[in-house]
Subunit: 344 residues, 3 copies
Amino acid sequence: MQFTGSHILSINQFEQQDVEYLFKVADAMQPYAQREKRTRVLDGAILGNLFFEPSTRTRVSFGCAFNLLGGHVRETTDIKTSSISKGESLYDTARVISGYSDVIAMRHPVAGSVEEFSRASRVPVINAGDGPSEHPSQALLDLYTIRKELGIQEPVASLRIAMVGDLKHGRTVHSLSKLLCLYRNIHFTLVSPRELCMPAEIVDYLRSKGHSVVETDNMQTGLNNNDTVYLTRIQEERFSNQSEADLYRGRFRLNQEIYTAHCKPNTVIMHPLPRDSRAEANELDNDLNQHPSLAIFRQTDNGVLIRMALFALTLGVAEEVHKHVEAVSWFTAKRFRNPPPIPT
Amino acid sequence: MQFTGSHILSINQFEQQDVEYLFKVADAMQPYAQREKRTRVLDGAILGNLFFEPSTRTRVSFGCAFNLLGGHVRETTDIKTSSISKGESLYDTARVISGYSDVIAMRHPVAGSVEEFSRASRVPVINAGDGPSEHPSQALLDLYTIRKELGIQEPVASLRIAMVGDLKHGRTVHSLSKLLCLYRNIHFTLVSPRELCMPAEIVDYLRSKGHSVVETDNMQTGLNNNDTVYLTRIQEERFSNQSEADLYRGRFRLNQEIYTAHCKPNTVIMHPLPRDSRAEANELDNDLNQHPSLAIFRQTDNGVLIRMALFALTLGVAEEVHKHVEAVSWFTAKRFRNPPPIPT
Amino acid sequence: MQFTGSHILSINQFEQQDVEYLFKVADAMQPYAQREKRTRVLDGAILGNLFFEPSTRTRVSFGCAFNLLGGHVRETTDIKTSSISKGESLYDTARVISGYSDVIAMRHPVAGSVEEFSRASRVPVINAGDGPSEHPSQALLDLYTIRKELGIQEPVASLRIAMVGDLKHGRTVHSLSKLLCLYRNIHFTLVSPRELCMPAEIVDYLRSKGHSVVETDNMQTGLNNNDTVYLTRIQEERFSNQSEADLYRGRFRLNQEIYTAHCKPNTVIMHPLPRDSRAEANELDNDLNQHPSLAIFRQTDNGVLIRMALFALTLGVAEEVHKHVEAVSWFTAKRFRNPPPIPT
């Protein structure tokens, strides 16, 4: 894969060596994200951060990653403020907005819309989520986290992962599953209510690539003997009616007691966030907040590294980053302290 | 006209020599907008980008122009988030916000409001559209585009232009018409439904300045023998009821077939955008997307140059831009490729 | 108080010497805010400007202050765009967002929420208003303004202040009152309808600290013999029904005639803004707009200095600011002209 000048639309674009290279570049971003030093490599460049669907985490993560490389961010956060409501095509929007940016990160509620947009864009477009379809930077940061947490230096050669919750609507588990197929010998345990199980075509795909897949609606069995447990929220916004979502909320929960009883020691705990911490849902309990295997906040931190790497690669400056280094003089110590106490 | 420190509120402020000077400065911005090099002339300056009415294109264009000169942008995009809903006067808003900015770009739904705001502002204010009234940077970029497309080096001395569509509500055709009156020997052909014709006082003004004006509701005749055809969208948001707008939508359309049949070869095709590409409107068909005379996306690109020039001039740094030049190291090649294919 | 790395949540954190030091740092920010020179001390740092409640003035003021120190701003302006609507806890939001920022300014409608957020944040958090509770930077800028307007160089040793209007709901008068208790010999005159009087616990607190407090619903008596008159708006958004707010609107007004008749010459006129300039309210009339004692716009200008100082102190660069100085080459003269004319 030629990164420079490319759109990043789907994890299907990536071969194993692309992922490995991307992760190397992400590793090299660590000291900048940690504020040990800073770089001005994209000083003067402009990110068009184009969010046609509400998002705080992903939007700010992309913006922050671009700022960390020294660039400016121009943001659009609401479809109502867009010419699209006046009948403008994505083609026109893309031709216009790409004239205002050096690279674009785009989220849109409609599957395929980011790809459609990218065909008319004069600058690289990074898919930040197109409805239920793709969100490649999330899958990449998830895999990157798994490797870091498990201390895997080489390409993944064997892994046992349980995915738990709403596997039908969860975009992240779909993408991560497919991405893991670039590697060998993955054991998937898919834990969900039958009605919210992983789509059959994805299960078939995983098996066709030679991986083992077990599907179950039994949480306790499912948690057994994994390297990683990946929990998800009931995606209530994708249900046609709220009362249907209520049926499933709170059915699969992980807390300290269940973890100790059923998970192998040091099983890495992941979640794409946001987690639903309301009492009726609470799929991942706050009593694990200080557990050393809880990786959920390291996931979001890793997201910044992955997005920095994607910007550096698509704009062709991955090897230039270190030529524009300056010192950091402000207070940064707090970032490295222990996890904050469990909220009461 | 003294640009430095001035508000830019109306095209009525401009004399011919001001326009000529502005366009020279805009020409000099080209290499920065094209990313051949970059400038830090406004590094540290702050633009207050104040949009009390939804806008993507214009808002991002102003922000991008300011970033391209090296400055920061602080943005307000929604009137609901404003103190104005608590009874604050524009006078107060202006005195406060102008303390947070070096220059302000402002859009507001009420005619005259930007001028009212500017009277209390301590920094230059650029009108980015005050309801149906003025949008001077749009008229300037339109004229700049006409000259570039037709290869006119000197002040315009003769021009045949057809304006088509909703000439009653279209702020851009009003402003462009008046701006063209600074030049000699303009032939206007005004094509619209009778009910949406150009306001009589503007027609009278054009004639009083010695220009020829023909009004018609016949599209075919109207397209004949022009240097430029300027199409507009039915401004449905300015109609009191939607069904009235529906009467006119789709009545004047330009597509490949009509262009070939009725327009002089190389007639420049313009549109202020957004164009309404829904089937029932489609005033400018996508089948012209790759036509070399389609200037609509060069218009928006030129908008960045014009806005860079307006910032540089009002802040008095037009002659300083080139003293703060640095190299661009990131990927920029895509900007120069051919138009993307016609969407299907 | 150790500023570096600290959260700024409440004026209760401040002792007299902290306020004095903060004001010294704010004084030193003046030439940067006035554009006599500029600094890049926070070049590369990121402010997370997190507004879960609408605000223009405070939001832009924090952003501007950070830009003036050279930093980037990543903004979130609407709770609807937040994961909180999907059941995310403030703990999670804080752990995630604090990974994207070097410092956070946060406004939230719920009292105590900023403090809750700060407990999980890895970076310093500055409270930009948590509902009816605290807004420390406003109280600090108010006190800073009083001192500058009255030419007080040393800690305040004696002051006569009248507070007028909705003293029940006005967050700013609560905080300023408490902050003034750090000093000696303050005479408070509290002018309000009985139903909107200052909460008894605050009055008791002021008296317990040895200050004199007079409560009255007579505007004319109340205005007599003060150094400063601090007016407030009826906080209609905090009333349970609008018609109740209507009872009080317009009952206590200051204009040129009343000022001349009842105020000591040179009494400083303050207001936290926005003022309600609609005819039925108009608590501070526009006919005082050019009065030399009208300090309301200097208050907002001082707010930038106070916020620059808070950023510089919490990030530990207060002594570094002057080591990163550069010249300002753009037009800045307008900032220093006379007040604009009274709007008609």
